[in-house]
Amino acid sequence: MSFVQATDLTRTFDLSDPFIVRAISRTPKRILTAVDKVSFSIEKGTTYALVGESGSGKSTIAKMAVGLLKPTDGSLLVDGMNLNDPKLAKEETLALRRRIQMVFQSPYASLNPRWKVKDILCEPIKAFKLIENPKAQIDRVHELLEQVGLASSDANKFPHEFSGGQRQRISIARALSSEPEIIVCDEPTSALDVSVQAQVLNLLKSLQKEYALTYLFITHDLAVVSTMANKIGVLNQGKLVEEQTPEVLFSEPKNSYTKMLLNAAPKINF
C-alpha cells in the first residue's frame, strides 16, 4: 500500500435553485461533479503533481486531501488511515491532521495581517501541543525561519513587511512547524515572479530531501511540474485523463488533452 492512496475519489456540488423555485419553475436539480472517480497513489518522499486548467478539480482534490472538504464518494487514505473515518477517535484524527499540511496559492491572502510572524508560526505548535514551554516555542520559531532562508529577527515583524517570495517562505515555515510528512502545495508559485519562483521551488526541493517530505503539488504550469514531480496526473473536467512520469509524459503524451496542454504552454526554447 502506498503512503497516500486515493481510490475513486469523487466530490459533487449541488448548484440547484432553492426547492420552492425548483418546484414552481419545474427545473431539475443541478449537480456539478467537480472530481469524478479519481484514483492515484503517492510513494513516501516523492512528489506527485496534479496538472489542469481552471475548473479541472485540482484544488478540490487538494482540499479533500487536507480535510477541508469531505469527499462525496471514494476515499483518500494516508498511511492507511482516513481523515473522514467516523470510527477514528478524535485524538487519532488530530494526530493524522498534524501529519498533513498545506501551502496556499496566495501568500497575500493566507497570512493574517494582524499577527506577527512568530504568532503565525506558533499557532500550529500550540494547536497540536508539540511544545508547551513558551521559551522553547520561540526557539523553534527561530529555527523554522532559518530553515526557510529568513532571519530569526524576522519573527517580530508583520506579514506586510515582507515581499511575496518571503511571505511564501513564511507559509512554508508554518506548514513545517507541525513536523508534517505530507505537504499539499496548491499553486505555491503562481503568484510569484520567475526569479522568486525559482528560489521557492529550490527551497521546497531541498526541504524534501532533508525531511523526506511527500508533496502533492497542484499547478497549471507544466514547466514547473517538469522540475518538481516524480509522477504527473493530468486532470480534465474532474477526471484523471493521464498519469505518467515526466520523462514519458513530455516525450510521448498519449491523451489528446495532454497533447493540447503541452502544445499551448509557451516555450522559451528556440
Binding site: 522568486v196 526541493k205 520523462e247 496542454l261 503541452l262 509557451p266 522559451i268
Partner: protein, 317 residues
Amino acid sequence: MEENLLEVRNISVTFKSRYGVLKALDNLSLNVKKGEILGLVGESGAGKSMTGAAILGLIDPPGRLSSGEIYFKGKSISNAPEAVRGHEISMIFQDPLMSLNPLRKIGDQLVETILTHMNISKSEAIKRAKNGLKEVGIDPSRLNSYPHTFSGGMRQRVVIALALAPEPSLIIADEPTTALDVSVQAQILDLLKKLCKDRGTSIILVTHDMGVIAETTDRVGVLYAGRLAEIGDTRDVLTDPKHPYTRGLVDSTPRIDSNSFKKSLFQIPGSMPKLDAMPSGCAFHPRCEFATEICRKKIPQILLDRSACWLLNDGEL
C-alpha cells in the same frame, strides 16, 4: 519596417512621497517600428506597466512624467496624449472583467467606442461592430449580450475587438493573457498576432512570462527597477543574453525538456530593490556575480544598442 512609429526618448516618471522623490522610470528610451511586436518583460515593480501608462498619459498623480519626450509618427505627444489615446494608440488591460462595463451590452460598448473615435453614422458603426466581433471569432448575434454571459477568453476577445475597432496603429497590451488558462492564452495570442499582422498594427506586449515573449514578440526590452537593462531581437536576447539579469531570468524560467527533470533551477539571489532604497550605480549590482567597482559607482547606459551593462565595455559576457 524601418520607420519608427513610436519613439520614447529618455523619459522619467517620478512620484513625490514623504521619502523624497521616487523614480519609477529612469531615463528610459525605446522605439517601436511599424508592424512589429515589441515585448516588455520584467518582474513586478520593474516599470513595465508604468511605461505603457506613460505613453498614453495615464499616470495617476502624484506620479508624473518629469522629463523626456514621446514622439508618435514624428510628433510629440508627451503634452497632449489625449489626441491619440484610444484612437491611434489603444490599450488592452489584464483583467477582461474589469475593462468591460458589466451593466451595458457589449454591442453598445463597441458602438460607443467606434462613434467616439470615428466620424461615421450609427448604422455604419453597428455594421463595423459586427465585423469586429466576427474577426475575433465571436458570433455577431452576441452583440446584445452582457459581459457576464461570456467566459474569460471570450471577454478578452471582446476587449481585443474594442481595441481594434478605431483602427489604431499601435496597441499597448498590458498582460493580456495573465488571467487566462494556457490553452486560451495560446488562442488569444495567436489571434492578436494574426489581426495585427493583417493590418500592420504594432503592439507593445507587456508581460512577465518569458515563454510568451519567446513565442510572440519580434523584439524585446528587459526592464529592471525602472531602467532598461537590455533590448534587442527576441531570439538574440533570449539565446545570447548580454545582461546578467536577462541571463538570470532566462535561466530561472522552468522549461519543458528532458534536461530539466528533477534538476534545481538557477536562482538569482536577493530581490528587486525598492524605489526608496535604490543602490548606487547599476541597480542590479548587489545581485550580480560579475559586479565590479564601476558598477557600484556609475549608472551604465545602453551599450552597443543592446544592453546597459559595464561588462560589455570589456567585450566580456
